[in-house]
């Protein structure tokens, strides 16, 4: 009992600086943002009413949700395939998968966004190549639109989607898969009817993480969307630094934080934090 207690206290002590940092750097300033949303430019609920009627704000919200949903589906699907290889492949396959998962972490989000511009723009690698082999005559618009945003975000988020999936796949009892095959089920059927359903918690965790991350994306949509696919984080930035319409920017922030908070609560109902690493 004493051991448990002192362990907990030790853990609390070790976490204290982080908690302090989070409170000072995020929670405290955020309270200020909440205050603005109710007081600027005039006290009252005016900003929240504006949110409900402002067409631009609503279309950005809807676009953000749409992009986040597409990115989530694509990222989780791609991450699932990579994770299967990483967790269950041969040693050589594991090495390759691990490389693919870890390398993106060493390249900044900015560099990656510009990398995609270089690949996808009208005179980028892909269009040049497709034209040179005569597959297309006019360049495809692959960037400065939602497509480019989705590509860039998916690329960024796949590694984050991998970890909850890997944890679910690692905790799966091999004998259950053997049992399925022993009962006459082919490898394919076993994968779809046993393996995938048994990693459900990993899929949910992975999807929620990617979705929540997507909602807050700023740099990638700003660069790859070219101002035409403004997402919610960029809208907040524009309202506060360019309009300046602090009250409305603050109100959007508050709504976004509440929404993300609700999703996180949902996330932790399905997965323990430990499974996300």
């Amino acid at each position: 009992m004493r051991g448990v207690l002192s362990d907990r206290m030790g853990a609390a002590l070790l976490m204290a600086p982080l908690l302090l940092f989070l409170v000072l750097a995020y929670a405290w300033p955020f309270l200020g943002v909440v205050k603005w949303s109710f007081t600027l430019p005039t006290p009252g609920l005016g900003q929240y009413q504006a949110l409900l009627t402002d067409d631009l704000v609503q279309s950005v919200f809807i676009r953000t949700l749409r992009i986040a949903a597409i990115v989530t589906v694509v990222s989780v699907a791609a991450a699932y395939a990579i994770t299967v290889v990483w967790v269950r492949g041969s040693p050589a396959q594991r090495l390759v998968a691990e490389f693919c998962i870890l390398v993106p972490f060493w390249i900044s989000v900015l560099t990656r966004a510009f990398g995609w511009v270089a690949l996808l723009s009208n005179r980028g690698l892909i269009n040049t190549w497709l034209q040179s082999i005569g597959f297309i005559s006019e360049p495809l618009t692959l960037v400065r639109n939602e497509f480019g945003v989705v590509v860039g975000m998916t690329h960024f988020l796949i590694p984050f989607a991998v970890f909850p999936l890997a944890s679910a796949m690692r905790s799966l009892d091999d004998r259950v898969l053997l049992a399925a095959r022993g009962l006459g089920s082919s490898r394919m059927r076993t994968f779809w009817t046993v393996f995938v359903p048994m990693t459900r918690s990993g899929i949910i965790g992975s999807a929620l993480i990617v979705f929540v991350f997507s909602l807050g994306f700023f740099v990638t949509p700003a660069i790859l969307g070219g101002g035409r696919s403004v997402m919610i984080a960029e809208l907040i930035y524009l309202r506060i630094f360019q309009s300046p319409d602090w009250g409305l920017g603050a109100a959007i922030s508050v709504v976004l934080v509440l929404f993300v908070g609700a999703l996180m609560a949902l996330l932790f109902r399905y997965v323990r934090p430990k499974q996300l690493i």
Binding site: L178, L183, G184, V194
Partner: protein, 364 residues
């Protein structure tokens, strides 16, 4: 293993399995008869699970061949062999209800919905799970999970059912109950059962034949009374239960079996002195020895002094030391034990000639 509803006959010839340089199974040949209940018995790490996995098709043997009803199935993948298998720890599908777990092998075989419903219903009744159809495995007790695993493995009428220590996680009374139930299922289905355990009493109680493994080798196969009463070697003798070993000298064939000198007294055995000559070991189970005041002329006997006793309820286990220092344990009625101990001096241990058997001297 291919025709449903018909017990399979399995023949393993020279099966070997190496994991790197480690020899998990060595030159194992074994015939498993149609509809028989064969138990694989051996200590931990002796290769029982490995052999079962080879039978199921989950592990590929390094050498040897496997035949089912005369067909070579050595290279046939597990899903095409479709042996029913109950794993250590059950391996139920945690995301499927009891019903769906049992229906799984039938769905895979594309049976009609009506047929599946009928057969699953029958199976659920047969293993006593009525009322639990919609539950998930995590909502069941260990014994109930065990029943689901049995039902799932039997519902598609496999030619052979492979069971890997199915009862190791159950408490003693439930274990006895499940053993009886499994015996009943064996009789009802008539399927060939191959059962793994490292509990010798379970093996002796359930099987038509027992195969004893040690260090990846098959040491002996035979009916329970055969391996218990006439073990081929010391390991089998000791593994199947407590046994007394007395050194014998001058062993030679005799009219009615064999004879030798045990602590300077002539003793007779019904077994033949085939493999042993000269010095050997005489092995006798504790329950086959009795205490007497005197051994008659021509009766097998040895003088000993009682040193300690353990009360077991129905009987008493008595420890004795012979004149030449051999340790012997017998299981005798309580009052006999008390009398032997109170006298404090020498008693005689006697045994019938058919209950003593010869083992080679030293080693295995």
């Amino acid at each position: 293993m291919q025709q449903p509803g018909r017990a399979a006959e399995i023949k393993a010839i020279g099966i070997g399995k190496s994991f790197g340089s480690f020899r998990a199974l060595d030159n194992l040949s074994l015939n498993i008869g149609r509809g028989e209940f064969l138990t694989l018995l051996g200590p931990s790490g002796s290769g029982k699970t490995t052999f079962l996995m080879i039978l199921a098709g989950f592990v590929q043997p390094t050498e040897g061949k496997l035949f089912s009803d005369g067909t070579d199935i050595t290279d046939r993948p597990a899903e095409q062999r479709a042996a029913g298998m109950v794993f250590q720890g059950y391996a139920l599908f945690p995301h499927m209800s009891v019903e769906a777990n049992i229906a799984f092998p039938l769905k895979v075989r594309k049976k009609s919905a009506a047929d599946i419903k009928k057969r699953v219903g029958e199976m659920i009744e047969r293993v006593g799970l009525v009322g639990h159809e919609k539950k998930l495995p995590s909502q069941l007790s260990g014994g109930q999970q065990q029943r689901v695993a049995l039902a799932r493995a039997l519902v598609f009428e496999p030619g052979v059912l492979l069971l890997d220590e199915p009862f190791s996680a159950l408490d003693k009374s439930l274990r006895g109950q499940m053993q009886a139930e499994m015996k009943r299922l064996h009789q009802e289905t008539g399927t060939t059962f191959v059962f793994v355990t490292h509990d010798q009493s379970e093996a002796l109680a359930l099987s038509s034949r027992v195969a004893i493994f040690n260090h990846g080798k098959l040491l002996q196969v035979g009916a329970p009374d055969e391996v218990y009463d006439r073990p081929d070697n010391r390991f089998v003798a000791e593994f199947l239960g407590e046994i007394n070993m007395l050194p014998l000298k001058g062993v030679k064939p005799a009219d009615n079996g064999s004879t030798g000198l045990c602590e300077d007294r002539a003793v007779n055995m019904h077994c033949k002195a085939e493999k042993v000559r000269g010095d050997a070991i005489l092995a006798i189970r504790p329950e086959h020895m009795s205490i007497a005041r005197e051994a008659a002329v021509g009766e097998n006997g040895i003088a000993a002094t009682a040193t300690a006793s353990t009360y077991l309820g129905a009987a008493t286990k008595l420890d004795l030391t012979t004149r030449q220092g051999a340790k012997v344990t017998v299981s005798v009625p309580n009052e006999v034990a008390a009398a032997a101990l109170s006298k404090g001096n020498s008693v005689w241990l006697t045994w019938p000639a058919e209950k003593g058997f010869l083992l080679p001297d030293g080693g295995q």
